[in-house]
Amino acid sequence: MPAADLATFEDRFSRAARGVRARLLLRRMTAGAAVGLVAGAAAAGALWSIRAGELRPWSAALGLLGALAGAAVALRRRWTDEEVALFLDARLGAGEAIVTALEARRSEADRGGPRGTILRAAAEALSRADRRALRVRWLERWYGAGALAAAGVAWASLAPLPPEPPAPPAPPGAEIVRLPGLLGLEKIEALETLGGRDAAQEERLRGLAAEARKLRADLARGVERRDAQARVARLRDDLAAERLRLGDRANRPGREAAVGKLAERQLSGAAKALGDGDLAEFDREMQKLANQQEAESRRAAREALEEAARAAREKGAEALARALEAQRELFAKREASAQALRELARELDGKLSDEARRDLEEFGRSGDPEAQRRLAESLGKALEGLDADERRRLAERLEQRMEGSGGSGASPMTREQLEELARRLRTPEGRAELEEQLRELARPEASPDAQRERGLGEAERGGAEAERGLGGVPMPGGGTSGGGEEPGRGGSERGSPGAGPSPSGGDPSAPGGPGSRKDHGRGAHGGETPRVDGREVRSKASGRLGGGAPLHGATTGRAPARAGETAEQAGSGALGEVGPGEVEGMDRSEVPEEYREHVGRYFQP
């Protein structure tokens, strides 16, 4: 009988357990499929949004994967017999007879024990059971999300794809430009003919020219605009650095010493020009000094140049010292030329026009090279106007002056100069040579450094021009400013234009504007701004930016200095250079006079 009870229980329990486990498997598969379909709907939506149209239907496969995963989970977490028995006991209200029977079936049959009773009670509970009562609920309300997700997958698979978004705009400057004839680069290329102060500078100038040539070639083939703009900007940076090289860390002490020496000799104009690093202006100032009539002034200028060159060399500014020595040699040559002009003018005194006389007067007073040019031209015209007798008499007077001087030096010209001048006047070839020489004097020779300075300025302007040609707005360059003390080259009635290359580039027909604080302006200042006829204030400046020479001292390029650096730390590069306003800044400062030397020594680099 107990064996029969056991068999009955085993049979009924096995059947019931199979049913429970099957429903559990179904439940987990359904849950997995629902989760998979929800994920599939999300994937389909994502695919739709990225317009991967052909992949959308495949997202439904996630539902199948979910069902398989649910089956795997169900098999992995398959209920044990004990768990099934506990479930059945609870469902059937069997008072834990089934789970107790599971344990009892493993125990040995005992006569007075409860085993048989328990097995029988469990079997009866299982036999009484309503099959529906044994079912594990396999549908949950939230599985409806799976159905909705399936519909979502279908919709996302069938819905038309969203329109293509507009292509992202190309980054600014990425377009290819082909500009074989970009203006301005030729001025940089011309640097290779300029010649350097030394081999290193010559090499640098050739490098700049080569880079400009290479850029021109690249532009002819086609290059990204931003790349071309960057290369032009680098060229401009290098040009600005080259112009400021005499004021760099190595040359700065020497330049300050040289400026000091010039200032000691009251050569303020030359000192300021050298302090600004403006060698062209410095050359002009020295030309003025060489043209001066007073020998004492010229001697002082010569000595100042010698002292400045010596001081620069002592401070290690070898390049500057050489430049000053070259200036000194040129100074002697100019001095002689100016003397010759004056001597000839004196001999031709009766033949000179009123304009030539004014030029002679101005030449003697200011030594202005422009006055020198006009005087030389007037002398040439006067020579052309002399007949043969007058020229002979002129030669004789020159010989008498030569004999009268007896080489004693009473004449400002040397004996050799007078002999040469007389000889030329006697022969037609000599006259032609003399006229040619006067024409040469009308074009005063600039110093090599001044020529180089002008060449670099031209190159900088060329760089700005090239930058404009590439569509960029050029930063102001560090070019040489106009003289600033005199009116610009406008067509003023007096016609005493500023000597420097004026940035204004004015219309010759327009009235000249005020040139400096000393010039209160003689031109017309009338005019008015036309009324803007519009509904709102919206205007656009159409003036040329940076059309003239760049402002001097403007910072260009990248600054190597870093935030937090102190004044004790010598800078390098453009920002580290001393500015013109800093020269003798200590003397102008509010530091009490008795402490200025001490403080100055402290800040001396």
Binding site: L24, R77, W79, E82, E83, L86, F87, D89, A90, R91, G95, E96, A97, V99, T100, A101, L102, E103, A104, R111, G112, G113, P114, R115, G116, T117, I118, A121, V136, R137, E140
Partner: protein
């Protein structure tokens, strides 16, 4: 015939009939209090002792006297008072002089009331702890030691102690460790209006005779043996163990209420009492195995006097019954997956 008589179903049938008759007999004397009667029977079948707590006049003594009468066991009653001595409970050796012949005297054991089979320890909390301990030792050991001699008590030995919860002056509350000796602590509720009406009618008429013998000593011992034979599945035992563990505030999974309101949980004796009392419940229900519901039914009377409240619990007025209810409600009987599947019906 004998095979049938000794088989488990036959024993179970006899036990059901006997307990049914016992219930009916007690029911004739006691109005209502069905749950109290059942709980006393659980203790009787489980072989434990009962601490009855209730207000005066709720029939505690009558219940015990009725039970003793129906069981045909020797009954003794000890009225605990503060001057009661341990020897008054256990008995003592007295010197008996020689007879007329003038022989030598000898000591004779005068057994105390503890030597009864059904002992009513009335108002146990009125005695001093020394006297209480004499009783509690007998309850644990089923034996007493008098003058160095150990005297086993006659089985079945069944103590029913009463105490009055509202009168605290001049009482000595039982120490928690000794409360553990009681299998159940039965709280006698106040009668309902109908029950009170019936009590008044019944007690103000002529006295009713106590029931005659229904179960003898052997019957009680057989019932106790049968109770021990009731099967308990391992998940049910584990459930009882989880309940006991969850009552400890130091347990990792203890609830916030347990941590806050309890100082000590039920110990091993509590778990043993849970299973034993659950077996008795199953036996009274005529089942050969214990169900989860049996454990849940006995949880309150088994655990309420074993849980020691913390100061915070006492201050907040958290009763041990409330804690037991939270344990029964919070500790799942079945594995989590099965519970989830059942809730999903």
């Amino acid at each position: 015939m004998s095979d049938d008589a000794t088989s488990f179903p036959a024993r179970l049938e006899r036990a059901s009939a006997a307990t049914r008759a016992l219930r009916d007999a007690i029911g004739q004397m006691i109005v209502g209090q069905v749950a109290v009667v059942d709980q006393v029977l659980w203790a009787l079948l489980g072989g434990g002792h009962v601490l009855l707590e209730g207000a005066p006049g709720l029939g505690k003594t009558l219940l015990v006297k009725t039970l003793a009468s129906a069981l045909d066991l020797s009954f003794s009653r000890i009225q605990f008072t503060p001057d009661l001595m341990p020897s008054d409970v256990t008995g003592t050796n007295v010197l008996v002089l020689g007879g007329a012949a003038g022989g030598a005297g000898r000591f004779e054991l005068h057994r105390g009331p503890i030597f009864g089979q059904v002992v009513l320890a009335d108002e146990i909390n009125r005695a001093t702890p020394k006297t209480q301990s004499a009783l509690l030792e007998a309850m644990a050991e089923h034996a007493v030691t008098i003058a160095g001699t150990r005297h086993p008590l006659e089985e079945p030995f069944f103590v029913l102690a009463t105490q009055n919860p509202i009168e605290m002056e001049g009482t000595y509350p039982l120490p928690e460790a000794q409360l553990d000796r009681f299998l159940l602590k039965v709280v006698i509720p106040d009668p309902t209006e109908d029950e009170l009406t019936a009590i008044l009618e019944r007690t103000t008429a002529h006295a009713v005779a106590l029931p005659s013998r229904i179960l003898g000593r052997d019957d009680v011992l057989a019932l106790r043996a049968l109770c021990r034979d009731v099967a308990v599945a391992e998940p049910v035992t584990r459930y009882a163990a989880r309940l006991v563990s969850a009552s400890s505030p130091d347990a990792p999974g203890a609830s916030d209420l347990v941590k806050r309101a309890l100082r000590y949980g039920a110990g091993v004796r509590g778990g043993q009492a849970l299973v034993l009392a659950a077996k008795a419940v199953a036996l009274l229900e005529g089942r050969a195995q214990v169900a989860f519901s049996d454990v849940q039914r006995v949880a309150a009377p088994v655990l309420r006097h074993r849980l020691i409240r913390s100061f915070e619990g006492e201050a907040d007025g958290v009763t041990t019954d409330a804690v037991v209810a939270s344990l029964v409600g919070g500790v799942p009987a079945r594995p989590e997956g099965v519970e989830r599947a059942l809730q999903g019906r």
